[in-house]
Subunit: 330 residues, 2 copies
Amino acid sequence: MPLRIIQYGIGPIGSAIVRLLLERTGAEIIGAIDIAPDKVGRDLGDVVGTSPLGVPVSDRADAVLARRADVVVHSTSSYFDQVFDQLLACVRAGSHVVSTCEELAYPFRKYPELARRLDEEAKAAGVAVLGTGVNPGFVMDKLVLTVATVCQRIERVFVRRVVDASQRRLPLQRKIGAGMTVEEFRAAVEAGRIRHIGLPESVALIAAGLGLEVETIAETIEPILADADVTTPYLHVRKGQVAGVRQIGRGLAGDRERIHLDLQMYVGAKEPVDEIRLFGTPDLCAQIPGGTHGDLATAAVVVNTIPLVVQAPPGLRTVLDIPVRFAAAF
Amino acid sequence: MPLRIIQYGIGPIGSAIVRLLLERTGAEIIGAIDIAPDKVGRDLGDVVGTSPLGVPVSDRADAVLARRADVVVHSTSSYFDQVFDQLLACVRAGSHVVSTCEELAYPFRKYPELARRLDEEAKAAGVAVLGTGVNPGFVMDKLVLTVATVCQRIERVFVRRVVDASQRRLPLQRKIGAGMTVEEFRAAVEAGRIRHIGLPESVALIAAGLGLEVETIAETIEPILADADVTTPYLHVRKGQVAGVRQIGRGLAGDRERIHLDLQMYVGAKEPVDEIRLFGTPDLCAQIPGGTHGDLATAAVVVNTIPLVVQAPPGLRTVLDIPVRFAAAF
């Protein structure tokens, strides 16, 4: 019996997930939900750029969810409070949920009451709910916790992710402020238009997994200025203009920093890398030179996690609980 | 309630595990088993080099196991068939088991019948059994599978672990043949005295986790010759003598190599490293420069895994099933 899957949200990420799901044996897409008027009513394959799938995109979530998929793959928004009702509907329909909602990666600190309610409902329905993706969900948290397995003691964690946005899609280059003046950048940050969601969630995941006491989680967003002219396939950034964003998430006990996550996304980054440094017994450094490929990785992490979530104990889970790994077949 | 733990086997690894367990909150050592005449009857703390623990080392396994620990940490031998009866006794006593027995990391290929029996007994007793450690159990398998999460497709896997044995204990330097002539080395290999146990198990774990078809697993052992004189704290190796061992494990489908594990342990290794290369979509490289510290890491992996095994579904498990990570408290 193949796993019956509903895709909830057919944006760029949802589309990439659908295309990857079609390659995996043991998965069958039985429904698709999106509210965009230019997608509703069309065949899912048409929307995601494959041959026809015989699955129409519908904006009537309840009717689609009533088909009671084994798993709903959910990819609509970054904010837990905004998707809470959607997730609740999936759970009440009796389906496991894997979601790319960044705040769902660890919702217990920011939304303790909503998290408690979703956990209770998931347990009552006998299904598991997981928020994951490449970041949060993997490179700056799950991979850190996994590498840490070989340490006897850990005092402090430093993670650095440097992404060269030059080869990424134009919307991403715009989203990180490439080509803006510093004033435009700060105004865009103020307006909430420039911000990676998920650093506090990664800090919280690491703290919970390592048992590091973290009283406060702080976050800063600063522009990275181009130190030379940069030309991408889509735009031109002059020296001194904004090349991208540097966002730092910190986990503090008193004034002592226990966790430091440094995320840099900018055009013209010379040495993209994912780097984990653990300070303890022993100290340890792990690197992915070139860094994890954001676009490919998000779909991969979500699809690979599906069969593991199906086997997970019911409730609102995190990547702490799930033996996240590649899964060729479901 | 602390986790009640019995340590079964008090050699160098078992001793390191006990010392680390004493640091963790939530763990209580209630028994210790070893058959060495120079250990039996002594206080466990005396044997492992800590202050007295009030736990005598006993060679009467059944009497100690009858105390029904939550978890038995087992560290007596590398060979599954040799420890099968010991593991069965632990399971029948109603205790979960975490073992450093290398062949237990993935016993299903080499010992399908024994593995089936242990799995059945563990399920009947409602306990989980896991073989793990740093290698096999982590750097050449679990870490590979975890890193692979960000890939959409994987065609081929290459892992390289280079260990500089210069700073390791003398028994290890002897065990890898350092200072031997090539003839002595080959005779020692023939006699079974030089061999890392676990490469085929790591190949099998990767194949199972990635869904890579592997019909045969091949293994070779060759000497690495010193290209210059090497002096360690314990011995002197002249240029041209054996500096250590290079062992290669390969997973083959027909004549096509899908998995290649290259383990090099020798004195004077210039660039110790753990390196994972995945070939697929996308290609990915992950490195631990300097490599994982073998002595510290084995105890760390075992102790960190204990609370996760307690929560695992009953049966004979592998690191495929367990969300292996650092665990500060039990």
